[in-house]
């Protein structure tokens, strides 16, 4: 995992994501989800290439149940983009890197 990515939990979600001054892309994943591994490299690269403008976080849905439930997540990988504490974008399933960047760029 890229050093530019932050692991968040139910306990730190509000502080790190909802109160973040930068927009935050959160990758909801689990170890048993192969498609999550498929997009992990793309998420890593985006964290690296957009680090001035975007915070990238990961949440393990096995260890954290409350936040995924709150946002109605029933499939992974799911990427959520938050800005100013508000949910702006939802992407479900495997996405090409360019598509993720395109969606995220609208809010930077």
């Amino acid at each position: 995992m890229s050093p530019d990515i932050l692991n968040v939990s139910d306990a730190t979600f509000e502080e790190e994501v909802l109160k973040s001054p930068l927009p935050v892309l959160v990758d909801f994943w689990a170890v048993w989800c192969a498609p999550c591994l498929m997009i992990a490299a793309a998420v890593d690269e985006i964290a690296e290439s957009h680090k001035e403008k975007l915070k990238v976080a990961k949440m393990n849905v096995d260890e954290n149940m409350n936040t995924p439930a709150k946002y109605g997540i029933r499939g992974i990988p799911t990427l959520l983009l938050f800005k100013g504490g508000e949910l702006k974008e939802t992407m479900v399933g495997v996405q090409p890197k360019d598509k993720i960047i395109e969606v995220v760029a609208k809010h930077l």
């Binding site: 689990a30 048993w32 989800c33 192969a34 498609p35 999550c36 591994l37 498929m38 997009i39 793309a42 849905v61 096995d62 995924p68 109605g72 997540i73 029933r74 499939g75 992974i76 799911t78 939802t90 479900v92 399933g93 495997v94 996405q95 090409p96 890197k97 360019d98």
Partner: protein, 309 residues
Amino acid sequence: MSAEAASDVVIIGSGPAGLAAALYTGRGRLKTVVLEKAIPGGQILLTDWVENYPGFPDGIAPFELIENFRKQAEKFGAVIETDEAGSLRRENDLWVIVGQNKEYAARAVIIATGAAYRKLGIPNETRLTGKGVSYCATCDGPFFRDAAVAVVGGGDNALTEAVMLTKFCRKLYVIHRREQFRAIKILQERVLANPKIEVLWNCVLESAEGESRLERVMVRNVKENRTFPLPLDGLFISIGMDPHTGFVKGVVGLNEWGEVKVDSRMATDQPGIYAAGDVADACPKQVATAVGAGVSAALSVNEYLESLG
């Protein structure tokens, strides 16, 4: 866009078939380029564990297996490029593959683009994907602890997923449009013996419904022509696969399901074009057969190029 110097062979697709072919053409000292879509790996990555690939008695993680395939292909000279084939045309003695980034000219081509899960095409299916509708039981099953869930389909994959999902859910329906399954017997036995599973025979889905998440589906019994709502938390769709062949339509012969027609040497109806893996009509949808077909295609390419001199 500009065409680079021609390769001996361009392999379109980097799943088991494509990478096995690349290993052989690389070892044959053919200049080999593999085109890999932005999302690598193929269908294999949607399973949680590969236990039917010979040589791994304890099974192997699909991600690890495909990484090994890739390393082995690269070791013998195959060059893997990230690009997606958009179309294919003949130009003098070469085939030209038009990618998103550039064009690739080659003396021979192996189509190994695989297949993707098929959608049902019912109302709200796309909108509720990730909100209860899923195509990957391995990925999303754990979100449905103590829930009511249905699997649509009657093949091996559908019944494997049904049994797996009973680890989590409270109640599982298998919705199947016919009166019997086409899955292998051992899977049928497991499904019929499982007390959590109820099979809805002769039933098709009309729609998925729900606001922020899936709440119910409308089911029609085609024999009695009766429609009824079925409250559900999760719907797993497992009705087969569609081959990725849109980009070669009109260039090579396809069968009625869109699979590339091949002979026993993996040759298509066009000179120098071969196909292998889930995309080819003669290939069972297995990792081991995809590998075998990829190797056959590579050997055929070798022979074909030698015959050209």
